[in-house]
Symmetry: C2
Subunit: 425 residues, 2 copies
């Protein structure tokens, strides 16, 4: 372990012992789940490195940016537009929320029946083990689901500079107006935080940088449609996870390098798993690092995941922002255009999501859909029943799973997954 990192973590006010324990568990899990995979693309070495250094080198970079006067903004949701953050000469990072930590402390401030993702955000803060949170100059929440909306009222007392973005609930003209007005307010908040005046050139550059990231991820997504699949679902998910906290330019380059390799694999009909492996589309709640439970169980059971209809996945990556606008207002409108298309279950009604699942199922030549909900996530759990019914009405096999971050139900889940894969053969 690099001792400089330990000094840095101490300076960030982190709990070193607790953090050591977390990193050990994380590294162990990564070895068991990721490094044990066979036939991985070489291009995944970069992501192995990033993950291995997730709390070290990347944090050091962010601190160096910070020391050079650049602000760091943390967020929990794909509705926070990185385009605007970059235009303000700031850096956006996704905040840790994929593992249970300090649950005893968490349940003093949040109800037990809160979803694992929200509890995890609080656990990483209360346990002082998330350097991304500690290095952030501003933490952005958003009124998406009830759980997040109400929990930010408590998180506000735990972090230094909490900013909350309001969100529409319907895709009406009024809903769109609210999103636009909130993005403009956020733009001002970024300007105030950074002391930068955001102009057309800067915003266009921000848009182009993020578009390039999304294009690289879309390319990766398309390559996963090949049969045999050139890359595992675990590795595909990892790229989507790193999307949220790596340096954008370096990330884009690394994904494209990976894609070059995968293109050759596809050309040579070389797969990470043999042709005929049951192909699964995952759909539902986001899977934040290090929540690799579902793809691990599915791929251990002999399936391969070929896409994620999820915020950490295709929903977060799809659609570019038109960068042709000549005024700030035009560019902001283009940003609203893109984000207002996100088919998050917080919207009512949300028919586009079902259409999206069906299209991804067809495009990726999947054999079945696993709908994944984090326990107590009302919006996705509520949607899962009509989604399952609609898919089955079109003879698309669907397995509905509701789980948390613990491994207690792993055996039971494996049994259900194996039975589902059996049906698909």
């Amino acid at each position: 372990m690099n001792t400089d990192f330990r000094r840095m973590w101490a300076e960030l006010g982190m709990d070193l012992d607790a953090h050591d324990a977390l990193l050990e568990a994380l590294n162990q899990g990564y070895r068991d789940i990721y490094l044990s995979q066979k036939n991985r693309p070489h291009g995944m070495r970069y992501f192995d490195f990033v993950l291995g250094q997730v709390h070290g080198q990347r944090i050091q970079e962010l601190r160096e940016e910070h020391q050079a006067g650049r602000k760091i903004i943390g967020s929990y949701c794909v509705f926070v537009p990185e385009e605007i953050v970059l235009a303000g000469n700031a850096t956006l990072v996704g905040l840790c929320s994929g593992a249970d930590f300090a649950m005893e402390e968490v349940e003093k401030v949040l109800p037990r029946n809160t979803c694992a993702l929200i509890k995890s955000s609080f656990g990483f803060k209360l346990g002082k083990v998330c350097p991304f949170l500690e290095v952030s100059d501003m933490v952005v929440g958003e009124n998406t689901c009830d759980g997040k909306k109400k929990s930010y009222e408590t998180l506000r007392d735990l972090v230094d500079n909490m900013y909350v973005m309001d969100m529409p609930q319907m895709k009406t003209e009024e809903g769109r107006d609210l999103l636009r007005s909130e993005y403009k307010r956020f733009l001002q908040a970024v300007e105030e935080l950074t002391g930068t005046s955001i102009d057309v050139t800067g915003l266009r550059q921000g848009i182009q940088t993020v578009n390039a990231k999304r294009q690289a991820m879309a390319r990766l997504q398309r390559l996963r449609w090949a049969d045999p699949a050139p890359i595992s679902g675990l590795d595909g998910l990892l790229a989507s996870q790193v999307f949220f906290y790596d340096n954008p330019e370096r990330f884009t380059k690394s994904v494209n390098t990976l894609c070059d390799e995968l293109e050759a694999r596809v050309e040579n009909k070389e797969g990470v798993m043999p042709q005929g492996t049951p192909r699964i589309l995952m759909s539902g709640c986001p899977m934040a690092v290090p929540n690799w439970k579902m793809p691990y169980l599915v791929e251990s059971a002999g399936g391969v995941i070929v896409g994620e209809e999820s915020c950490v996945g295709e929903r977060g990556n799809r659609n570019l922002v038109d960068d042709s606008g000549e005024t700030l207002d035009e560019l902001i409108e283009a940003i609203v255009d893109r984000y207002f298309q996100i088919e998050c279950a917080i919207f009512t009604p949300n028919p586009d999501r079902l259409e999206r699942i069906k299209k991804m199922y067809a495009d990726s030549k999947a054999d079945g859909v696993i709908h994944y909900s984090i326990q107590f996530c009302q919006p996705y759990i509520m949607e899962s029943i009509p989604v399952e019914k609609a898919l089955e009405a079109e003879d698309i096999p669907c397995l509905r799973v509701e789980t948390d971050y613990s491994m207690e139900d792993a055996g039971q889940l494996s049994t259900r997954i194996e039975a589902f894969l059996e049906v698909l053969k």
Copy 2:
């Protein structure tokens, strides 16, 4: 049983056998819980009659209104403005949602981890036992919590004419704009349904009718502040419940008659329970008919409930609409003024609710607060932790309860309530 009612229920498409079973349970519960109370005001006889006839005579009245061309609008929330409904020559009724019914059917369309209130709404529909729902020409839902918002997407397929009102999540200018715009859209929808053109005179009349109802309830509320309490919490709650479905003018008159009697009681220091009985303010989720579980347990344990900081209670009754406006826009603005003050936990942040609880605690000379949440109601459960902390910081005793409609936890709850009352003595 009046056979005319049975014919009416059959004509409404209800399941007569299931409904018989429901009514029997309801009547039995009412006898055990309500009629066994000692020293009740005579004025409660009216409410006994209303409750006894809840699915009979009141439904017959509504059908007669309907046959005379008047439309019936059903709703699930205090944000649906009765003023506008009355101005459109229509009648607003609250829809049944206070008891578990047809749960096996409900759990085919809703997740098990859905709150009892929402499940109940579906159970009454799926079990065909709610004549209010069957007699309604339009059913109004609202995007308050995630549970309701998402469940209306499914309810839409089960009822004939579902209308959904969008709701703001923040008390900002944009939030207020959305509420105004939604109330204007609702006004148009009422006009379209009824074929009535709503004018200033009609809307002012609607406002005055509802104001009179609220004034009567506020008067009742103030009388409950007396020590000894002149009326039980069970009976106070019943009046708040009947508020939602009785004829407004008759209801107002009956509450005022009751209040006349209670005034005399207060004058004579005559209480329903002796002076010194521990006084409880209930705060939290609404209790719809026949959800009498908490007041029954509290008052059986030797306490008296002196107020409900709840939608079925003071939150639904407080604040009048200014009727002095001279244009439709002015009157609508006054309606927005009133409703935008409701301290529902769907708003973030929601500091006014805490202030309201403290004021009600002081006004009603309560000895302690019981915060009541229906299990899986995220907004109220989330708020309950900071509310409890804030109350206890001011030495206001607080008991946090999370429960559902079943009586399975009654023993455990009674033990906790008895211990809490013991502390208050």
